[in-house]
Amino acid sequence: MNGFRGSTAVVGVGATDYFKRGTSPLSSAQLVLQAILRACDDAGADPRSIDGFVSYAEDSSEGLAIGAALGVREVRWSTQVWGGGGGAVAAAVNAAAAAVFSGQANCVAVYRGLSEASDGRRAFSKGHLGHLYAAHGVLAPAQVCALRTQRMLEVDGVPPSALEAVALAGYHHAQRNPRAVAYGQPVDHDRYQASRLISEPLHLFDCSRENDGATAILVVNAERAGDYRGNPAYILSGVQGAAAGWTESAENEDRYTSAGFHPALVQRLWAGAGIGAADVDVAQVYENFTGPAVAAMIDFGLCPPGRAAGGFMTVENLTVERGRLPINTAGGNIAEGFVHGIGLVAEAVRQIRGGSPNPVADADISLMIGGPMAPLVSSTLFGSEATV
């Protein structure tokens, strides 16, 4: 543990609606601005007092442009995290916390917005599947994650039912979230099994699909949290990184079936918060695809590896009613909506702050796991007031 633990907090969450991709009436920048303004409303914050901006995955809305549109008094921190896709989503939260903790900014907006009309298709993976992939017909992250997932199933022995449980848990939770794209469209075992294959072993319902939309949170110093409305979600610990041998290298990663959360990184996360895997009350596990989400839970020790993963990864265990570890409680990327995982940050915060469509009773420790199997991975632990 160190001075960073609990020294910053999220005091506002804002989100736009999710739109089917390409149908947002607002541009990408307007979506981001709407999300930030709603976060300010949630916090009772003056939008002009925001002095920091952080995003990731080549967001098309630069912090300075967003700051100018808001008419902020001063931009003191404007940062984007390197690394493709949603691997950096939690790293963006951590960067905001680092800025506030070090006194370089007072109120930092972390945001992600996407509009296909503004940003084009597959903005999450631009430039990340180069010629050595594409020439061989590997053009989509689904295919890369399928390759890794197939080995996790076939060699490590993780049963396919673990993937299905992640998908069904998300769809289950989405039925109580009117904002979710899958609201009113439940998926059960039969519908999952009958769904078309995308890239084996991944079915349609194993895959997140891009939406138009945006979400933002506000990070401030914990000592100032009382100046804002509502319960703060304290940032207990955060990590980002890539181990040696875990980088973009045309599928030559060490620990190929891992999600990239190497043991030292996971240990740093727990040590920073002074807790362990068993203390997590609720987790938002980034499911670009279900296979990587399972691999991430194994990396974090939330679920046993190999064949035994099947015993833990059941819909019952992963859902709020009776689950040992509810995950993706607003529906997740797969069933709530996918804007590169930023919606999972909002839900991780809401489990502490309030406002989740599926609140976990007495949740004190809320884990956010960023894009698994990405070249850069990241994670953030949020805690309630009782934890600090």
Binding site: G130, A135, G137, L147, Q150, E154, L197, S199, S249
Partner: protein, 252 residues
């Protein structure tokens, strides 16, 4: 149910397939789409490569494919009296009708993608030039002899700037695989589904390279199976040669 009965083709399926072939041949698109399972119409449309105009259709075979599904091979004649074949898999839909579950051109052929050849940073240019010369070349440090794939600006082990490329015997084992059904790009139409394998190469200290597994129609690859790479020449000079992988006979 006896074995004979279980493999018998339901008469209503035969009628449906015959009508489907005619609908495709006459360009009756609404009839064709009505034969597709509704949850995958886009995937099915983009899977098969079918010329805009056809002269005729001939149902060559309908055979049981397990799980109550059937495979139909339909031969289509083109305006210049050439022919090609599609194999469609049929399943009973909720409403009792037979619907197309999947479809592909046969025989299976690997796709040729628009994105190919040297990467913009040029690091892998010798690899592509090697394929044109009939060799699989991977990066290997001239100082410490470490194999590195994909290539990097310096050797990540000894930091030498003297990186080179050396030929590798394209023989190895399947490290992982995926069969792709989704048309992620127009170039894949006519080649779906195709199998991509990640191959571990003992001759390059276990470096792994990707490639399409040739003749993978109807087989399920197995991790650890022995494969051999063969360089396939491109259909035109816009494309570069590619290594295609073939299962060694004993592991098929």
């Amino acid at each position: 149910m006896t074995a004979e009965q279980s493999t018998a083709v339901p008469p209503d399926l035969t009628r449906t397939v015959e009508a489907h072939g005619k609908a495709v041949a006459t360009g009756d698109n609404s009839a064709v789409l009505a034969d597709f399972l509704p949850d995958r119409i886009g995937q099915l449309i983009a899977s098969a490569d079918v010329p805009a105009q056809l002269k005729g259709a001939d149902v060559r075979a309908i055979t049981a494919a397990g799980e109550g599904r059937y495979d139909a091979i339909i031969r289509y004649t083109t305006l210049d009296d050439q022919w090609f074949e599609l194999r469609s898999r049929w399943a009973r839909f909720d409403d009792g009708s037979w619907r197309v579950f999947s479809v592909r051109n046969i025989p299976d052929t690997p796709p040729w993608m628009d994105i190919t050849g040297p990467s913009p940073d040029g690091l892998d240019t010798p690899h592509w030039e090697g394929l044109r010369a009939g060799l699989l070349l991977l990066q290997r440090c001239r100082r410490c002899a470490t194999w590195t794939w994909s290539p990097r600006p310096i050797c990540p082990v000894c930091h030498s700037f003297d990186t080179g490329f050396e030929p590798v015997d394209p023989v190895g084992t399947i490290y992982s695989w995926t069969r792709t059904w989704q048309p992620f790009t127009p170039e894949s139409t006519g080649h779906l589904p195709y199998v991509v394998v990640l191959v571990e190469l003992p001759a390059a200290d276990g470096c792994r390279v990707m490639g399409v597994l040739a003749h993978a129609d109807g087989l399920t690859p197995r991790i650890g199976a022995a494969v051999r790479g063969e360089i396939e020449q491109p259909p035109d000079d816009r494309h570069w040669p590619l290594l295609r992988w073939h299962l060694e006979e004993q592991t098929r």
